[in-house]
């Protein structure tokens, strides 16, 4: 027992360079939006906590070629949790003002173009699980960093049309629901594929090179590579869909509260005819 405990303690990567990123984000946030504690500060804390989970906690160590499941958790945190919390932490008024500036405005509009966000969000999930790419990202540390950055950036693009701090850039509720629902279908298909395919999606994990004592304990306990991939697949499938469903509920709430009554019908419907 003690051995395993030491293993777990030893799995924390306290010296991770992610602290620099976190510090930079904190300083930047403070410089831009001031340091007052507000409700949204909790979202920022959530976002940064996501980074800690992904890079400092045992998830980071296990994700690095040991457990596929941990790898998946890392992906999900970076793609879904970190960007979402970060977006929600942005103060509305300041952002509206800032995004209205002529220099910034086109970028905001690009972010809010929903097909881009949707395609990016889904394609990073799918593409990084092509067997060769999945293994390569673990073998080259630069590629690994690049992968993580694409996750966060794609996540920002993905969530922007739904939770943009600028009201006008958000999708209308019906479209937002459709956006999230179809994304959920995409995740589900990937999850089903990972869960049920007999192929080893990320071959590195099928034969972990740097097996730690903990992993050996886990394998002895019956957690085979096959089960690892299955659990990873289910994680890729169920938590994102629950999150999307939650986001749809949030959109519904916004809609019933009439917060956005000026865009009751979706932009997609603009082209249509109105009933006299």
């Amino acid at each position: 027992m003690g051995g395993v405990w030491n293993e777990i303690v030893g799995l924390w990567s306290w010296a991770s360079p992610i602290w620099l990123v976190i510090a930079a984000v904190l300083v930047g946030y403070w410089a831009f939006f001031g340091g007052r504690m507000e409700r949204r500060s909790w979202w920022l804390a959530g976002s940064l906590a996501g980074l800690v989970v992904a890079y400092v906690s045992p998830v980071a160590e296990l994700a690095d070629g040991v457990m596929f499941t941990a790898h998946m958790i890392q992906h999900l945190v970076l793609l879904l949790l970190v960007p979402l919390c970060f977006l929600l932490s942005l103060p509305r008024e300041r952002m509206e003002e800032w995004l209205a500036r002529p220099r910034v405005e086109p970028w905001g509009r690009l972010l809010s173009f929903s097909p881009v966000g949707w395609a990016l969000g889904l394609s990073v999930m799918w593409v990084w699980h092509v067997p060769t790419l999945c293994s390569a990202s673990l073998q080259s540390s630069w590629l690994g960093v690049f992968q993580d950055v694409t996750f966060v950036v794609a996540g920002l693009f993905f969530w922007w049309p739904v939770f943009s701090p600028m009201k006008a850039q958000r999708l209308a509720p019906a479209s937002a629901a459709l956006y999230l629902f179809t994304a959920c279908v995409g995740c589900t298909l990937l999850g089903i594929y990972l869960t049920f395919t007999p192929i080893s999606v990320c071959p590195v994990f099928a034969r972990p090179a740097a097996g730690t004592g903990l992993l050996e304990a886990v394998r002895l306990g019956g957690f085979s590579a096959r089960m690892d991939q299955r659990l990873g697949g289910l994680l890729m499938w169920v938590p994102p869909c629950v999150l999307y469903a939650g986001a749809i509920v949030a959109v519904c709430r916004r809609w019933y509260a009439g917060e956005e009554d000026e865009v009751v019908e979706s932009e997609n419907f603009r082209a249509g005819e109105s009933v006299k």
């Binding site: 002895l220 306990g221 019956g222 085979s224 096959r226 089960m227």
Partner: protein, 327 residues
Amino acid sequence: MVWLAESASSVVPVFDPASPFAEAIYSLFLKVLAISAVIFLIVVGLITVAVFRFRDKTGGNGDVPRQDFGSHKQEIFWLLGPVIIVVWLAAISAKLVFTVNAVPQAHPDAGEEPDEEIEVRGHQWFWEVKYPGHGIVSANEVHLPVGKKIRIKLTSEDVIHSFWVPQLSRKMDAIPGRDNYFWIGASKPGVYQGRCTEFCGMVHAWMNFKVYAYEEAEWEAWVEAHSKKPELPTEGVALAGQKFFETATCIDCHKIAGVGGTTMIAPDLTHFASRGEIGGGVFVNNRENLEKWLIDPQKWKPGCKMPNFKFDPEELQQVVAFLETLK
């Protein structure tokens, strides 16, 4: 028709568990039942109070009641209870799935190799049971030692069946082209009723089986007796019966160790005379019933694969005499 003299050993088997696995499921079930009863009483109580307290006695001419559109706070408050219950339910059922009855192939508990392995194969409409460690093949009966951890490897020859002994273990589907594994055991000696629970065609109703659990010594005796070939008759009507069995079509479908045959189509008849039942629960196994069965199987188990062979009385006596010797 003669009804089973030896009825199942429990009237409400789900509530009368006789193995650690069934025990664990039973205790979970009791908890869920209790919480469900509480929820039901609360909801029905509220509805009853509402109906009696707020019933309109004026015939529709009374004052308009307060138009209450609802409050999110209250709704969220009322949601809290269900959320807690759901989380709790998820946790206890997940725990049970992990610990007690995980699929042993995918999750071999370290150091917990089975004491005994039994292979069960579903057929339309009987169960073929093999004990690979002892070279025993049987049908519609599973024999176990008490207090041991036994792993069943389950599959099907044709369509999907489902293997269920409520007092001893979970239900598991027998699926063609796929091996399913699960634990079974019995904590006390006895006879336990099992049934096929997945609709599998015409006589799905008559695919019952029994599980016999023995103390260690009796189990060893059973294995000893059944791993030997039965003593074949050497003279008289029984010998004639054996000759008939070999020369008529019997042997095309049934197998008897030492005599020959195949088990793909019909139950293995080695040690037939020691079995408790005929036809997957249609009859208790005795001479009278065996005759009835042989005269017209289709009358008792319509659609089963054994036709009415129209034996003449002499042949019938010979076959019965032969089968009775297969102890």
